[in-house]
């Protein structure tokens, strides 16, 4: 088998942890596998480097920023290669520019264009472990680029795709993907498998275990992704194509996001083009709008509600107030809301998920403020104070509790 392993910042936080990581790599080598390893910077290092850049210049050149912040991963890759060699494992580090990992030249948030793998494959086939710093690449301008925060996951998945790896193991500080947040619902279960689509919804709805971007990339290239802990030996969660999962649950998990704020315009003049004017202005200001609801019109006016990220809510209010040709009697803003989502590919063939969800919430007298649905999820906006109650009730209602 050919495996890509990726270790995050807490997994390589110091030399002792790097030694533990090396043992994990060695175990795969000893099992006869070909292994490429992607590493993050030691935890805290990237923040320090970013801090230096901010102190150096408030408006800094993204190309120089990349020169500075890419060093964290470079250090870890050299150290891990050393430790592996010390364990008798053949290994060498490959900088982004040495592989090369070609990216576009949008510095600090580059996208990977292609990865040259001929030399890497030939080394892997000879039993040499390739240690690759995540997050970095080589731009079309022959300068160092970085992929933006969480970029090491993206490096790992892109590398797994380019190498035709049988699996990409993402080592982190949790044991896998859970049916919901175990800190809130103690009966939450670790999932053995989850589809890319579900993982994507979980990630974009607040489960922080994987970056949305890396899951998309894995889905597009059918990279089998395993999420597992670098601190235990428990099996993790496999993110894979739907046809790999024999027994599909109707609902796989329940996600929530506190990063929500609700804006309501009362008494909006209900004329054609009014929604285009409001949401066009918000888009022009780069404010992401998530859920949108418009009430049935009465007396030529209507109420319009939408949600944005909490950090954007004041800006959103300003944009609406300045929007041309939008008349309304009042703007109300509420940041004390949470979005709770029920996710599962099984929904496609089973009706009644929304009904079960709404009933479970009604039974606890939780008022639903906004609803949005997609093919594989139902999301509701509720008052933040009901977060825990809602998660536990839904977890039970959909039969997800551990036995």
């Amino acid at each position: 088998m050919r495996i890509v392993q990726k270790f995050g910042g807490t997994s390589v936080a110091n030399i002792e942890r790097i030694q533990a990581v090396a043992e994990r790599v060695k175990a795969e080598v000893d099992a006869g596998h070909q292994v490429a390893v992607v590493v993050s910077a030691m935890s805290g290092v990237t923040n320090q480097l970013v801090e230096y850049c901010r102190a150096a210049s408030p408006m800094h050149d993204a190309r120089e920023y990349d020169v500075v912040v890419s060093t964290g991963e470079q250090v870890t890759s050299g150290l891990l290669a050393m430790v592996l060699q010390n364990l008798g494992v053949q290994a060498r580090s490959w900088m982004g520019w040495q592989v090369p990992i070609h990216t576009d030249s949008v510095h600090s948030k580059s996208r990977i264009d292609s990865i040259e793998t001929d030399e890497l494959v030939s080394r892997l086939e000879k039993g040499q472990v390739a240690v690759i710093p995540g997050f970095q690449g080589l731009g079309a301008d022959n300068r160092i680029t970085t992929l933006g925060r969480g970029g090491s996951d993206t490096t790992a998945v892109a590398l797994a795709a380019a190498l035709n790896a049988d699996r990409c193991d993402i080592y982190t500080d949790v044991e896998g993907v859970y049916t919901t947040d175990p800190r809130i619902v103690p009966s939450a279960r670790k999932l053995d498998k989850i589809t890319y689509e579900e993982m994507l919804e979980m990630a974009s709805l607040g489960a922080k275990v994987l970056q949305t971007r890396s899951v998309e990339l894995a889905m597009n290239h059918h990279v089998r992704l395993q999420v597992l802990s670098s601190f235990t030996t428990a099996p993790g969660t496999l993110v894979c194509d739907e046809d790999e999962i024999v027994e599909k649950e109707i609902v796989s998990g329940i996600a929530y996001s506190r990063d929500e704020a609700k804006v309501t315009l009362i008494g909006v003049a209900d004329s054609p083009g009014i929604a285009a004017s409001i949401f066009g202005s918000l888009a022009d200001a780069s404010i992401n709008v998530d859920m949108i609801v418009q009430n049935v019109s009465e007396d030529g006016t209507t109420d319009m509600t939408f949600t944005v990220g909490r950090a954007d809510v004041d800006r959103a209010r300003g944009v609406v107030e300045r929007a041309e040709a939008v008349t309304y009697s009042e703007v109300r803003v509420d940041s004390q809301v949470v979005k709770v989502s029920v996710i599962g590919v099984g929904m496609r063939s089973h009706v009644g998920v929304a009904k079960t969800m709404f009933e479970a919430l009604a039974e606890k007298s939780i008022n639903i403020q906004v609803i949005s649905t997609s093919e594989i999820k139902v999301s509701v906006l509720i008052s933040e104070e009901y977060t825990e109650l809602a998660l536990r009730s839904l977890h039970t209602a959909f039969g997800l509790d551990a036995e």
Copy 2:
């Protein structure tokens, strides 16, 4: 004019210092000069990285060591480029592999083979400052190399030679090269100019202001080297060809080195090949021998004295004791010695320097244990307790005291 400026670790120790460095660079740009800047790692950073490598593996791969330790200079170069841009100065960083600075593949102590300058020159001519991390290069194996400790001076001088720079300014924490150590002799004077040969003797005899290797390189390529302080605006010392110095002093400076130990073999059988056997064994053990004296033979035996670095003295004793075919009655070791040297190209045409030196020391009753001379210096080994007295007496005897 085209200038290379080099700033050491204390000059770039934090963001404030880097900002002060940027002002120095800007001043040269504003004066209409073309400027390339070579920077060290922020002070302390390289030691931390070396410490990581030691902790990772006691016997580490020099190639991976270079990957790790080269990041210190990389960070400084990106930060300085940012700060320069913030001051309105066009600037960009160039990693060793981007220039490229081609070196051999002897990792961790590489030598520079050549520097490609076409692109750099074209940028310099357009007014862009090139910021280059010192100490690093690109090996023939397409991997990052480092030049060994003090390598940033070497980078600066090699770059100045390759760019045909009019001057290479080495910024440090002292104001220049002094006639002797001003901490010991308060009347020591800063020299305006000194020849390469004298500087080389000064450097190898204990004056720590410049690395021997970078002075050799400057001499071979006729790079005019200026040593000056990054903390004051005082003019520094120019290291240059002899013909640039109109008024040559007979003696330019007095150096001393405490890193000396004396080994004496008493009653050595005075047979042919005995010296070859002793010093061959020491060379095989990579022990550098400096001064050597052999007394006139009496009764077929002789006494032989030599000096080595203090760190090597125990090893040297062991090597001599195990040396084949060397018989002697006793080995004496003395680490309480210091080497004091009088240096000046003017000696070539003036006799009497040794006489003046020996008389000045005799006047203070300082016993000379060993003497060695070269074309432009006279060195004596004396008891360490007389260091200060000897330096002050010689400084006065050769008329070097400030008026």
